[in-house]
């Protein structure tokens, strides 16, 4: 930690940061001031993809010509005085389970290699309406799902963690995490059914935001588990995540579960600090907590101390059930809904599925309707109890992933990364949760979560921003091999 802090102190000035490592907010400011051309920014990202994506494998499809056309249009609009907002001209990419009309959606699956979408996901359309430039489609576990087991049997190479390319990115949003960490996109959209935004963000040292269930439309995305799926951003900073969420939050009649909720201003109080706020601290996970790495625990305690030092009132809090209880309930719902979405493919073309997806589908096949409904009943009770536990606080902090990213050549350790965490509880209950970096252990990112009441994203971002501003973790980028120019380590 001290070494990283020192490196942060020694960090170069912002003027020396390569364009592909600019934050969304900084790039947006430069574009707005006409100091930075969207075409040049796009070229920097395309150059970065050419330089490092053969190592990190963040992309499945790069939409070069589509992106160039959009960047030229953005440049002309801005030159003409028609700036759309802070995302105008900013390159981004999406997990390959978001449809984009005219572009193939593979879901990294042999089942869909030739599928060209005829619709565009609402979230992508919202970002493009805000002027952001789609760079392409990003790697994922098959169909954005799986059993947690990683097997090299999909049609695309496994995405690699930019902090150590011998390690897992977390999943299932593997490409989004690899892309933002490596600088092959300034931000990305992922999807989170049981931690699939937050676990990759944790492994790759990023902000991962799973919003309140229903806040961001899932229309135009491949279905996984309709009652657990959440769409959201992976970004380098809290401000970037807030900017992206501001663009994609809101009611969408195309998604029957979309919440008809008034939009909150996520930026107004972002830097208001935590003085006087009451923040719950969840430390006790019973036997489940024994899996928490010592480095993660120590970093979490330092986070608590930092927030206290900033003037927040930190008080002990508890979840009403064990993490295992949440996980088992979520898993049964996940098996049933995912099987329902992919039954036809399973029955007729399961030989095209990778082992991880096939295993999950077999669980869904073996499940009975009454078992699924028992899990839904359990969820109702857990959701209500969790809301009662969280609601007294402005926010609650707790660990996210319990381990650092595991090595890909140690496959037996990989399922533990997916299982030992406090993420899936909030897919089950629908509460918003943000994964934030809390430092490093042996050069690998550590993390924690900030969670809170339904629709409490503005407050969660405020708390996370206060912590981010008080710590040096955003000043250090992963160093990649080859002709990488972006690392500062």
């Amino acid at each position: 930690v001290e070494a990283v802090s020192k490196r942060a102190d020694d960090a170069e000035s912002r003027a020396d940061v390569p364009l592909y490592h600019l934050t969304v907010a900084e790039a947006g400011r430069r574009v707005a001031r006409r100091e930075l051309s969207p075409v040049d920014l796009l070229d920097a990202c395309l150059g970065r993809i050419a330089a490092v994506d053969g190592i990190v494998h963040s992309y499945i499809t790069v939409t070069v010509e589509r992106a160039r056309a959009a960047a030229r249009e953005a440049e002309a609009e801005i030159a003409g005085g028609r700036l759309r907002g802070p995302l105008h001209g900013i390159p981004f990419a999406v997990k390959d389970n978001y449809h984009v009309a005219g572009v193939r959606t593979t879901g990294a699956s042999r089942l869909m290699l030739d599928h060209v979408a005829d619709t565009t996901a609402t979230a992508v359309a919202q970002l493009e309406a805000a002027g952001a430039i789609l760079l392409g489609k990003l790697n994922t576990w098959e169909l954005g799902t799986g059993s947690g087991m990683v097997t090299d049997d999909l049609p695309f190479p496994i995405a690699r963690n930019p902090w150590d390319t011998e390690r897992l990115t977390g999943g299932s949003s593997t490409g989004p995490a690899a892309a933002v960490a490596a600088g092959t996109a300034l931000f990305a959209l992922g999807s989170d059914t049981g931690g699939s935004i937050r676990l990759p963000a944790a492994a790759c040292g990023l902000i991962g935001l799973k919003p309140t269930y229903g806040l961001v439309s899932r229309a135009g995305c491949l279905p996984n588990c309709w009652s657990l799926d959440h769409n959201g951003p992976l970004a380098w900073t809290i401000e970037d995540a807030a900017l992206v969420l501001s663009a994609i939050a809101g009611h969408d009649g195309s998604d029957p579960t979309s919440a008809d909720a008034p939009s909150a201003n996520l930026l107004r109080d972002l830097r208001a600090g935590v003085g006087g706020l009451t923040i719950g601290v969840v430390r006790d996970f019973g036997p489940d907590g024994e899996a928490l790495d010592a480095a993660q625990r120590e970093a979490f305690e330092r986070m608590v101390g930092t927030l206290e030092g900033l003037g927040a009132h930190l008080v002990p809090a508890r979840l009403p059930a064990s993490l295992t209880e949440y996980r088992h309930t979520a898993r049964v719902i996940n098996w049933a809904e995912s099987y329902s979405a992919h039954e036809e493919d399973f029955l007729e073309r399961r030989h095209l599925m990778g082992a991880s997806l096939r295993e999950k589908m077999m669980c869904g096949f073996a499940l009975r309707a009454a078992d699924y409904l028992a899990a839904l009943r359990r969820r109702r009770i857990l959701s209500r109890a969790t809301d009662e536990a969280i609601s007294p606080y402005d926010a609650v902090v707790l660990p996210g992933a319990f381990h650092v990213a595991p090595r890909l050549d140690e496959p037996d350790t990989i399922p533990a990364y997916t299982i030992d965490n406090a993420c899936s509880a909030f897919n089950l209950t629908g509460h918003p949760a943000i994964c934030v970096p809390t430092g490093f252990a042996d050069g690998l990112p550590l993390n924690a979560q900030v969670v809170g009441p339904y629709y409490g994203e503005a407050m969660l971002l405020r708390v996370a921003q206060a912590y981010e501003s008080a710590t040096p973790w955003r000043e250090v980028r992963p160093r990649l091999g080859g002709n990488d120019l972006g690392g500062k380590q």
Binding site: M149, T151, T212, Y213, G214, S227, L228, T257, S258, A259, D260, A261, P262, A321, T324, E325, H328, T329, R331, V332, W335, L347, R350, A355, R358, E359, M362, C363, F365, A366, L367, D371, L373, A374, A375, L376, R377, R378, R379, R380, I381, S383, D387, N427, L428, T429, G430, Y454, Y455
Partner: protein
Amino acid sequence: VSAPERDPSDLDEAAAFARRNGLVEATPEDLRLLAAMRERVAAQVATIRRDYAKADEPAHVFQVEPSPRPPKS
């Protein structure tokens, strides 16, 4: 990744389950996997039912199972 070997009786049960539920042309590997996953599912479901029983909800009171939270109006 192969499913572990199973007792023949497990595989017979898995084959019967597969036939009843439309899994046609199941391979021996399919049946080994199905037998293993049926065990896993049964174990998970048992914990949910045990935990749910703690709530002691009256069976004769109508309950609606909602999405994780209702949309704001």
